[in-house]
Subunit: 376 residues, 2 copies
């Protein structure tokens, strides 16, 4: 998988590109709505097309547990199962094994764990995770990796790097190629030496794209940006770069400025379900009493369905009465907001105004407890 | 409000008609999706148009509690507030005061009650309920009534009839007319003498349409059908008749055969949210394991979005994983199913085949605990 470079920013490392998948093109930089369990929560495939998503993310861990390999095989893969016929990237489940599953035992062979749902035992090996993603038929598969939790001792981070490289090589071998792309994932936390070693080893194995793993898990934004800058200097420019699980809109803009092409994050969907709306003026808690008689759109300049047809007062009413439509409309709006930011990023890189756009999105420290994590 | 008679069935009392409201025409017989709290649960106004609904139902009791009169007044009424610009019928709240509120005291003045949400005290009078529906701007307003619970002693049913007639007269007086229609509601349970007295007195007052209240609350289907037949002989043919809170598709078909024009029921929405789908072959619990690998549409002949794009296996997966999209898609399908039944009823009356259609829907006794009630 090559990244076709359509434009580059002369003042930053931002790239406007396009990758071709088995299910069509993806214009980068792009944001992938998270569809963990074969659905972007509350949103249909036609909704996704309407709001401008070109590619979505699925998750090996959740899909293996439910509906399971047999159902997905018989369905003819994830696209057929969920009725989304655009590109899909599937995450390998390393992060979920660490954060959601019980009683996990990680050895060089793989990760044995008990399901967080029923306690059944599963074994993920680099090979089995590649095989499952073949079955899913995702357009971009991810290698099994071992992220070290934020704040781990250096030896533990180094061990996770070592094992992730071993697994990456076995994944590459098991995958073999074909129309499904396979991305490597670098680890090393915010330790520059370890991250560099991980990145060099992963690039040496050779993948269709390179993902930065183990970030947005509690480190500072500055630390994350330093890791991205380091990565930019080490991975080939003709391959897409994917910053996993990130993030806030301003983090995305600044990561684009450092050469990142692909993003995913649960924030727009999870916050939307919980009643928080993204706007140009920041995030709004739509349950607040002040919106009770606000007969204006959520965001007057937004062209999404919710903003064209409904008021803040109505959205607040839906949230206060726990009406499902409130979660649906805010999720839709938030995803539309993210896609609008990505459209503006792509246009700005193409027309040379990206540095000005960057200035509109000053970096902020994430609020306490605001790490995205996964969507269960 | 006149019912324009477009066709009548020569073998039954079924009528194909049209009523004109301030927000457009309604083709009868029709089914009104229930939008208790200013939303049909999980469904947008464009969805409602797409699935064929011409008129929806709102509820005075719930709307007065949340968002309340001030918000709805400032919004410019219920249509503006919720963004649905087709016809709306608002139920007066008598049923909810009896079934949902705490510590109610009913006198000839009105019904005083405490909110089921926060215990605040409210007073519904025939006049205040008419006034609130003026504020809402609904196309069809309902008088405040007092349904007697199923199984009440005859004296209690008689007292509810007496009071409902007094309230109906005061409602008529308070309303005055204009483009908003006002419907009377008959009571009397399944007691034919009381129901007849209630109906005659209500017709004497004179309304734009006549509703049958206090049914589908536990009586047998045969008893309900007898009450409908009685009503048919007593109300003027040029006014729409509305069977409140009913019901199962076969009940609707048989009530149409007895001259009913308007229906509403929570069943398609509530059952949809809970994972039950309507099909020609009966209701299916889509959580059942047998659908786990059923890669066929919910109903192959159905043209709704869910049936054209998704499989039973996928719907089951969404329900088993408690994904919001499952509730949304089944609600959509069930409402589409009801609208399809109504389209077929209207077509059959028009082309003379209604008796054959009636045979396809044999009456069944409702299952235990299957009384629709209200949607909270």
């Amino acid at each position: 998988m090559n990244l076709d470079l359509l434009a580059t920013c002369p003042h930053t490392r931002a790239r406007r590109g396009r990758v071709w998948t088995a299910h069509g093109p993806v214009d980068t930089p792009t944001f992938m709505p998270v569809g963990t369990q074969a659905t972007v929560k509350g949103i249909t495939p036609p909704d996704l097309t309407e709001l401008g998503a070109q590619i979505i993310l699925g998750n090996v861990y959740h899909l293996l547990l439910r509906p399971g390999a047999d159902v997905l095989r018989e369905a003819g893969g994830l696209h057929e199962f969920m009725g989304w016929h655009g590109p899909i990237l599937t995450d390998s489940g390393g992060f979920q094994v660490l954060s959601l599953s019980k009683l996990r035992t990680i050895t060089d062979e793989g990760a044995e764990f008990r399901s967080h749902l029923d306690g059944d035992t599963y074994l993920f090996t680099p090979e089995s995770v590649v095989e499952f993603q073949r079955l899913l038929g995702s357009d971009i598969a991810m290698v099994l990796d071992e992220p070290a939790p934020h704040g781990s001792p250096r030896e533990q981070v180094a061990e996770a790097v070592r094992r992730s490289v071993v697994w990456a090589a076995r994944s590459r071998e098991a995958h073999g190629g074909g129309s499904q792309a396979l991305f490597g994932i670098t680890q090393g936390g915010t330790d520059e030496a370890l991250r560099e070693a991980s990145t060099r080893a992963t690039v040496d194995i050779g993948f269709d794209g390179y993902a930065l793993g183990g970030l947005s898990v509690g480190e500072s934004t500055e630390e994350m940006m330093r890791v991205i800058e380091l990565t930019d200097s080490l991975v080939p420019t003709d391959r897409p770069r994917y910053l996993m699980g990130v993030g806030h809109p301003e983090e995305i803009v600044h990561a684009v400025a450092r050469g990142v092409d692909l993003f995913d994050c649960v924030l727009p969907t999870r916050l939307g379900r919980n009643g928080t709306a993204y706007t140009r003026a920041g995030r709004l808690n739509m349950r607040n009493a002040q919106y009770g008689t606000a007969f204006v759109p959520l965001e007057p300049t937004c062209r999404c369905y919710a903003c064209r047809h409904h008021t803040r007062a109505y959205l607040r009413h839906l949230l206060k009465t726990n009406e499902m439509l409130g979660a649906r409309l805010l999720t839709y709006h938030n995803l539309f907001f993210y896609q609008t930011v990505m459209r503006e990023i792509r246009a700005a890189i193409a027309d040379g105004s990206f540095p000005q756009l960057l200035e509109q999105w000053p970096l902020q420290e994430a609020a306490e407890g605001d790490s995205p994590g996964g969507e269960g």
